[in-house]
Symmetry: C2
Subunit: 581 residues, 2 copies
């Protein structure tokens, strides 16, 4: 499935690499300078871009595009054969925002990805191709797929562009359809399927609901999610609006309406609950991005939240445009909804040093989710890495009932340099000593650069009524990148309940994802050290309270690019699909 | 009004100073070790504590207690003579939380304060004195003030203490009354006035509403504000609850329900609007504290918010327990509601280096407020320093239509080292150049330590649809204190409207308060440099767009303690009030 290293695209890769070092983060000039990217030619097609996935910063377990600038996952779905399709907002010719296409990759397990040719590009010079969604039109409700049960309909925003490069609108919703299961698309002739004069009306997310299709879409600057319905994916009727609830930020984007499994605090399965997700950027409380969600009820046309609480996901700064795969969730082969998000922040994404390696931005881990309830605050989303078990390459440490104060794990022998770790605490006393803390440091041995995280059982905050018990993450010790908006320190309250608490995470070269208290809280944070991190230090404050127990497990993870890298260190993609088109 | 330097309390001051250096931030042992603080003696009374207000970190325009640990303002009111009374949660014998009393200071202008004797202390060993409020019972509705129109009723939480020092509750609401206008109080004989078995039911805030009294109070862990009514301040009836709206955090505290003036976007006065304020700690999005508010309607018993949006004040980390002065606001002599908040954060307040100077924590500036509306997001609170004009000591710089790229202001000659500055921008183009930015650095010349802030007109974020235009504050350049929870970098989206935008602020030795876009956004941030800051650098990116205009004004501020400091550098208080008791 790999291109030979002598294929023309390898030359293209070299040429682009040179262009990159000249252009820095300003990518748009490359668009007009390159014949192959002219909008007249629609987009560079036919072959996937090749990529060097061997760089110091390049994640080995997380997906990143082979080259250049990637942002929001969009249109992601699981097809009838169980293949996961990841599309993403993509500038194939630059290291900064602009020139948006839909990049494409496919996977059987959500970790090992095959880069595919670009699936969609802007249909004309005067519009930009923004985010959207894709569904399998199994019953050919659209009439676009006679005799097929695997037709794919993508609906997305086309944003009117000004002559000077601005995005003055209007933003309308267009349809494209694929006869080959999502690899190549044709533009529908009678676009737009939803017309508009608005400059802020975008990111349609379509799903099947009983006998009809439902679309949620953002009226971004009105802090409103519009709900539309359709029988055929072509004719859409506005059904209702949901607005001005929870965090507003500066605009709302990328809504998702998801039927979520609900497990109560005892782990008992209860009725599913609808949950509306809204992505905010800019204007999140930490600066830039935040993802917000509302549990509620949905009757096919109207969404009603259970309460007016503001609930958000992720307490660090690199988690945005969270999207759920279509064709997944209750009633499908895959019971738990699965999401993927863009692991960066617009405040600095166009400045990060991965440009040295010819790429910018990775996705989050694929995550599976359910809803639960916590005392007082009620509904909470739980997030966990999608089945990581098969990714484990080797066990580095297993400590049951840890008594040592420090466990040092040197993992330079793990080829990917990516590790998973988990810590489980039991028997935490209700009123823990103020000095009690758990600290984890990931360290580069040659420079002592580090990323730290930890759990403080009341040592800092006053422990009135249970105290703060904050969990923190501090990326300030990584010295490969610095910027005013690159916030270094994050924290979140994470009270332990019934004396138990846990934390786990994946460290993957330039991205750290942390799942706190079983995934009730998460932190997703990029970091950029000058030298690679290869030591993990797990430390406990001395004098553990009697009866308290700490278990630690650290494992290495398989790099997902190793097996598909050719002898020149380049990852190509799957070209055979072109024959299907 | 000052004590002589030979007064016994001067000796006490010395003794306590010694104790402090031994105890570090752990204050509670001092309580039992000191005879004068025994709960049997109730509290050290009769004389205000003396304080050395000359330290490097000691704010000169902001209020701080003379010695030791201060937290929430509580019970604050303006009396019939126009005197402002500031009470505060106070540990008179230690530099950390605990041993709570109500410290007291009075002022005629909200800047020049006279330290008063402690007003209230815990009535017994088994309860702690928490926050609450005070009202003037002008019409003697309580029957406690025959023949008086200046009787003061304080209602506050008494929190049951466990033998081991915990606060296991219950939390009940008690009343004390003052015949001398708020200087000394007697406990009401038939407390509690609201009984409870709850461990989290506190911070009653009482106000007059037409023919009755209204109390808002927090059921902290239920994310609920209870509303109670009374005719006489003694018998209270539960009227309604407001809950689970906006940010939840880990608990809700210190509610305030305020009748707010409303000025529309054109500056036209409209009908007043009720606004409910709730303080969250821990669990604010930035870690620790945040203040949230809900505009809405109030009919004397029920509060109804206008929408379900989460709105919060202050985008840095040192603004909590915001309280409004009673007897102020629409219908009183002072039309604009006036607040004061505690300018610190529980995540690190007990560790900050002001302990070297014998004190910890200051209040925010007194602020006046009104409500307005902004496009899309609707209601917004506006915050501005209460009349600072009379505090100006000297003009340092006035630049109309600034053309220089850098203006450096050396202000070591300003005795207080406290300055006020304001920058007004007009003629900002709709689509500003990406390179456009405004930066302000406050620098210590000997160490180059600094605190920075600035406005980025789209240089970092992609400027889609108006972009982020984030304002930032970075205290990471101050090297006198560091801690994992001492977040260094903050930002907030602040879109400019109609081409105008402004920023102003007060820098006061260890606290910086910034009012962004006329007070639509604020940042309140402590900072601790090793050496004092005495230079301000205002810089503009080169090549201002045509038609854009920048005005700058920088002035020195009077220190409020200078005039009341004796020859030994100690500020005493007003002892004469004892005679009134």
């Amino acid at each position: 499935m790999q291109l030979s290293p002598n294929h023309p695209s390898a030359l293209l890769f070299t040429a682009l690499h040179l262009a990159v070092s000249c252009l820095g983060s300003v990518a748009s000039p490359a668009v007009s300078a390159s014949g192959s990217a002219s909008v007249a030619a629609n987009y560079p097609s036919g072959t996937p871009f090749p990529g060097d996935y061997g760089g110091q910063y390049r994640p080995q377990v997380h997906y990143s595009a082979p080259q250049h600038f990637m942002s929001d996952p969009n249109g992601i779905f699981r097809d009838n054969n169980g293949t996961w399709h990841l599309y993403y907002q993509y500038n194939p010719l630059g290291l900064g925002f602009g020139n948006q296409h839909w990049g494409h990759a496919t996977s059987k397990d959500l970790y090992h990805w095959t880069n595919q040719p670009i699936a969609l590009g802007p249909p004309s010079k005067s519009v930009a191709l923004f985010s959207g969604s894709a569904v399998v039109d199994k019953n050919n409700t659209s009439g676009l797929f006679p005799g097929q049960d695997n037709g794919v309909v993508a609906i997305f925003t086309l944003a009117g562009k000004d002559p000077d490069g601005g995005y003055g609108g209007p933003q309308t919703q267009a349809l494209a359809y694929s006869h080959d299961g999502g690899f190549t698309y044709q533009l529908y002739q009678h676009n737009p399927v939803i017309n508009s004069t608005s400059t802020n009306f975008r990111d349609p997310r379509v799903m099947a609901y009983k006998d009809h299709w439902v679309m949620v879409i953002a009226y971004s600057r009105d802090y409103t999610v519009g709900i539309f319905t359709s029988r055929n994916l072509i004719n859409w009727t506005h059904a209702s609006n949901f607005s001005l609830t929870g965090l507003l930020g500066a605009q709302w984007e990328c809504p998702n309406l998801i039927h979520m499994p609900y497990y109560d605090q005892k782990g008992q399965k209860q009725d599913n609950i609808w949950t509306l997700f809204v992505n905010i950027n800019p204007g999140g409380p930490l600066g830039g991005a935040v993802v917000q969600y509302y549990p509620g009820s949905f009757n096919g046309t109207h969404f009603e939240p259970v309460d007016s609480a503001a609930r958000s996901i992720d307490s660090a700064k690199d988690f945005y445009a969270m999207q759920f795969f279509n064709n997944v969730g209750p009633g499908t082969d895959v019971e738990s909804p699965v999401s993927i998000a863009w692991a960066s922040n617009w405040q600095y994404t166009q400045l990060v040093p991965t440009a040295q390696e010819g790429w910018r931005s990775s996705m989050s881990l694929p995550r599976e989710h359910f809803m639960t309830k916590v005392k007082g605050a009620g509904w909470k989303l739980v997030s966990r890495p999608y089945n990581l078990d098969r990714m484990v390459s080797e066990t580095l440490v297993v400590e049951k009932n840890l008594t040592k104060e420090v466990v040092a794990v040197e993992f330079s022998g793990v080829e990917s340099k990516a590790i998973y770790w988990e810590i489980h605490l039991t028997g935490i006393p209700d009123r823990e000593p103020r000095s009690l803390s758990l600290n984890v440091s990931f360290v580069s041995p040659s420079t002592a650069e580090n990323v730290r995280l930890g759990y403080v059982f009341g040592a800092v905050d006053f422990d009135l009524f249970g105290g703060d018990t904050p969990f923190f993450l501090d990326r300030g010790g990584a010295k490969g990148f610095d910027h005013t908006f690159f916030t270094q320190r994050f924290s979140v309250s994470s009270p332990h309940d019934n004396g138990t608490w846990s934390v786990s995470g994946v460290l993957d070269r330039s991205i750290l994802e942390v799942f706190i208290d079983g995934g009730i809280e998460t932190m997703t944070s990029t970091y950029y050290t000058k030298e690679p991190i290869s030591v993990a230090l797990f430390s406990l404050s001395p004098d553990l309270p009697k009866g308290m127990n700490v278990d630690l497990r650290v494992v290495g993870l398989h790099g997902v690019w190793d097996q598909v890298t050719d002898k020149d260190g380049i990852v190509y993609g799957n070209r055979t699909v072109k024959a299907l088109a």
